[in-house]
Amino acid sequence: MKIIEKFKKTFFTENPVTGLLLGLCPTLAVTSSAKNGIGMGLATAFVLTGSNLVISMLKNIIPNKVRIPAFIVVIATFVTIVDMSLQATMFELHKTLGLFIPLIVVNCIILGRAEAFASKNNVWDSFIDGIANGLGFTFALFILGSIREILGSGSVLGFRFWPEEYRTILVFVLAPGAFLTLGFMLVGMNKISKLLQGGK
């Protein structure tokens, strides 16, 4: 039951993107299509889960003074692993996401969860926390990417909403569209969060 509650929290009320407004840089940059959003989200989720796991294991060994450098080394290691394995297994996806993967290192969601959760909780809880937050992040990126792709290119994940010849609202696949969509999405997500909390 606790796990379900946790997921409800990270998907809606405390979603890293729409609830806590963390990690907005990759959020805005990669979501020009739903596929990119999912790819980036899952890569981040993997790094987040891995780093949470390791950091919660090492939490008693790492001296307080150097915890941030230690966290960053752990996170960067996972990011590099993701980068290399994606290139080895999913070459096509790596071609589209390539530029953004190294940037996961400085995604503040990951450092934030390490600092706020993994360094204070046990291994199992940190593991769940990593998965929950990672999937919450993926969820937000997927929604944002889908809306932008539908409005901007008229299709989502290869499924066409209207013929290719029709005009689409190009601005949505460009940077300003990311900000606009995110704004409206925040409104919607806040509404959902309120409803969820009111329903308790």
Binding site: N64, A70, T77, I81, Q87, A88, E149
Partner: protein
């Protein structure tokens, strides 16, 4: 965690963590570097297959030849028929000044310098706008053209190429890249005749 740690412990812990991560990465690198190489080779092979699709019987070497044009390095694969005659070229050039940096593209042409097809190897253009350069609608206008029969710039600049809607910069870069490949061909041809 609040207690004061000795400097020695701080140093040791950081060093140990760094070493552990370095060893782990070295291991992952060893495992993945093979498949990554393979993937890159497969990608190049696939690209050659596409850009030289009208030539039926040819052999291509695995390692590209190198030359340069306008101070930009160029790699190319001469395609040879079974009796060793050159029947075409697959030339890898940079599309200069794309919307997000240069991009790598491959242009295939037959032995007379007529374009067979183009293929973008690696790019960071805007999805939905600039990446239209990889689509049939844009690509088909390049087929059958050569250096002499076409004005190599987009229509907006007085040339013959239809630019992509809302992606003129990408189209310019693409066109310039194709032109570069054609100039490389000319250079190679002159080299052979000279």
């Amino acid at each position: 965690m609040a207690k004061e740690e000795s400097a020695l412990k701080v140093i040791i812990v950081l060093v140990v963590i760094s070493f552990a991560s370095a060893f782990l990465l070295a291991y992952v690198n060893q495992v993945t570097s093979g498949p990554i190489e393979e993937n890159k080779k497969a990608e190049t092979k696939k690209a050659i297959g596409i850009v030289l699709n009208t030539i039926s019987d040819y052999k291509c070497q695995e390692i590209p030849e190198e030359t340069e044009i306008d101070d930009s390095p160029v790699r190319y694969f001469p395609a040879k028929s079974t009796d060793g005659k050159i029947v075409g070229y697959a030339i890898i050039v940079k599309g200069p000044n794309g919307f997000s940096n240069d991009f790598d593209m491959m242009v295939g042409m037959d032995s007379s310098g007529t374009i067979i097809d183009t293929y973008v190897l690696d790019h960071k253009e805007t999805p939905g706008l600039g990446d239209g350069m990889t689509k049939e609608k844009f690509k088909k206008q390049f087929r059958g053209k050569n250096l002499e029969n076409t004005k190599w710039s987009v229509k907006k600049d007085g040339g013959d190429i239809d630019a992509l809607t809302a992606a003129t910069i990408t189209s310019r870069a693409f066109t310039a890249g194709v032109k570069r490949a054609l100039l490389v061909f000319k250079k190679l041809k002159e080299g052979i005749n000279a």
